[in-house]
Symmetry: C2
Subunit: 523 residues, 2 copies
Amino acid sequence: MSDNIPALNGAESLVTTLAASGVNLCFANPGTSEMHFVAALDRIDGVRCVLGLFEGVVTGAADAYYRMAGSPAATLLHLGPGLGNGLANLHNARKAHSGIVNIVGDHAHDHVRFESPLKSDAEGIARAVSHWVRSSASAADVGADGAAAVQATRDGALGRIATLILPADTAWSAGGRAAMARPVAAPTAELGAVPAAARALKQLGPRAVLLLGQGGTRSEAALHLAHAIAAHTGCRVLAEFYNARMPGGRGRPAIERLPYMVDAAVAKLAGCETLVLAGAVEPIGFFAYPGKPSQLKPAGAALLTLAEPHHDVLAALQALADELGAKPVAIAAAPGQPAALPTGAITPESAAAVVAAVLPEQAVVVDEAVSSGRGFGVPMRHAAPHDWLPTMGGAIGFGLPGGVGAALGAPGRPVLVLEGDGSAMYTVQALWTMARERLPVVVLIFANRAYRILQGELAGVGATISGDKATAMLSLGQPALDWVALARGHGLPGVRVDTNEALAKALRDGFASGGPCLIEAVL
Amino acid sequence: MSDNIPALNGAESLVTTLAASGVNLCFANPGTSEMHFVAALDRIDGVRCVLGLFEGVVTGAADAYYRMAGSPAATLLHLGPGLGNGLANLHNARKAHSGIVNIVGDHAHDHVRFESPLKSDAEGIARAVSHWVRSSASAADVGADGAAAVQATRDGALGRIATLILPADTAWSAGGRAAMARPVAAPTAELGAVPAAARALKQLGPRAVLLLGQGGTRSEAALHLAHAIAAHTGCRVLAEFYNARMPGGRGRPAIERLPYMVDAAVAKLAGCETLVLAGAVEPIGFFAYPGKPSQLKPAGAALLTLAEPHHDVLAALQALADELGAKPVAIAAAPGQPAALPTGAITPESAAAVVAAVLPEQAVVVDEAVSSGRGFGVPMRHAAPHDWLPTMGGAIGFGLPGGVGAALGAPGRPVLVLEGDGSAMYTVQALWTMARERLPVVVLIFANRAYRILQGELAGVGATISGDKATAMLSLGQPALDWVALARGHGLPGVRVDTNEALAKALRDGFASGGPCLIEAVL
């Protein structure tokens, strides 16, 4: 961009900079201090604005958008408290290695000297989840700061969180100068560990695990390479439990994920002498439990990093396959037959079979079903090809916003959100954005009317209870949430089902509608 | 408590400590790392637990609870992201000078060395809104740390935010030792400024303003003293725009609040030569605007601090009245007649008249009506005696949780929540807690289907817009939220009204029911 476009204020220079730098979508929940930015979005073309009624919707949508589009969206948030409301999903986005440019309005420089009600520590809050934080000093800096923020979202093949704080006077003052982020560089390939990895896999065969994570699970090509390497060497291939985006379904290699439960993960890695990390990190338990290990690998097992998450993991796997002479192998059909459509009462297992049977081609599945979602792995191997996006980072509230962001990040593809009823409540306001933007999102709520996972965790930590109070604290049954009413309240059609036949019909109808809908599956 | 109660784990020692220290209510949204605390709440009597489906519900309820009960509740939150979700209402609580003990579970000490999905900077996030932060080192410390946290919530007559981070191993390990917070000390009276304040008010009369804030507006007695001082000296009395709790209605002095709008506030203070601050701070604009001042008082006006917010403002006002020889004065009926019940279409003004007419005695009114709530001041002078609790700190999302906390903090008193439709969505999940706990809360939603205040602010900052994009960003009309359905979805009865007659009936029915309900008033 030219430096001499006249008469831009700071906000206008930022919108111009974002558009020129390829940031063409802004998820927004603005307040007073962002009004000049809102006006600039209105006046200058190139950045589409999508409104969320809560900041967690905004940040969760930006996370999923990045996972599908591969480039960052902006968010627009209101001072420290607005950023705080978006923090949990920024935590998730950080763990997903998603790139996001947060624009946080703040008080004008002259105003922040005084104790006003909304004075807050926006920078302190931002640092807890951001890789990069800057507060603009003047309108003349805002464009360059915006370009620097876009650049700061890039971490090789993956993304990072950049937060630009915009004091109101830097937005409203004249003297803005638009800038442009540098072009995206190719991700780094680090191939030094290829020979050692090849030797380990060949020598150890099934006593080696090729562990895929983050960068290594996003592309179908990487999964095929891993599959070929395993066929050639006899090593085992596993993926991390959480992967920001993972292709699955028919014709794709079925890569098993490390289990969530500590005991099961330890058992899965038993006998492994070397873990070759392909875009993965050392496997660590989600939580600690009394008497159970944090580190999941056998005590003596070696870690060998083929590629770090932000490296070009695909190139590293290709080099490894070349070094080994591993040739592409055909993907056999998943063992067993696709389950016949189950009938009768819905269980998590039957719902997985129904979803696998009716999922349309190239759907994006956002998974925040928590306890109800654990059984999807095997049935989904028979499903139509799809991408799978789980909640990264473990902060509940990604699922519904994730549906918004996935639909906007992958235009034309149907989206299915698998949601627990407890989980859905954290950012339930996302339903309204689905309705407003008429997004092709089918929301499937697993209504078990409890924090089911915590009922398990309460046992898992060895806590013993004597009475009804703890039981009540983990129950959502009194009153039961009425999800059909909640959908209608947000402007969405909804239907309640309690048989698998009705579930299959509701899913098919939902996908056929091309718009958003909600299905409450009563378990 | 004795130090030698055997066989407590850390979590049990904390529950025992809280109960012994007068913290008898815990608003909770727990996760795995808090399961031992949940088990301890179950096993040990003395701390009642109220569940929220989102952390902002938990922290907002704790704020309102403190404002009514005058003593802190605990919250139970899940690691950094859970604390993040509660941050906006902790910001508000901090500005309200509410005392809250946050208990934030974290990973076990041995686990936090590793990069796990939920690893987060809980301490960094806590510091942004807490006056006191500590992370327990061992189970043996948890009881003493809990007692220190309770003590840290006390700031003279007002409260503060204390956050105790509880690594999971400190909760589950044996060796817990219960403790007890020190008894509450009497708030400090600082009377040194009394003679100077008396002189200023006597000499200046109407050119002096006695400005009440925070501690000075909570008690009816303080308002009567201020009224008597004004009658004696001819000074003007104003209250800060935001006051955490302010008695109002018939028989109470009608203390005018400083206006929200900068121009109006500046006009209100015009001609003032000295502001005597009684539990108040210097008046500062909520936001900065191009060309408008941040400081609202006339440039040459003196500030004279009679009492800081955490001082015993009532004692200071009593001393000032004594110094002046000001005698109690009878409260005249508010000028004018109570408006006849309006009929026909609902406006913010007509709704205020209806509310003033039907409000039951000793109601608690939680005000987050934002743009729709500005006209309540004058009509409410005719209403039955009540307490008024606005959103402090300006972070939207206090209102519905505030209804929960007010009902629990003032048992037996009816609660009315005045809510904007945009505002209500930030913590809409609070409706479920009202239903679950069968709280006597009537929620009145002003459905103008827009971020009306931002439409005004967009003009206020001088931003000019050319097209439809900004208009759309501030409109909530497509689709319109269906508040009756949202209420039903959360387990609450709801009714939609579009005339003042129907509004009056719905309010009366709601208060008569003794339970929660929601009224959507379509403007």
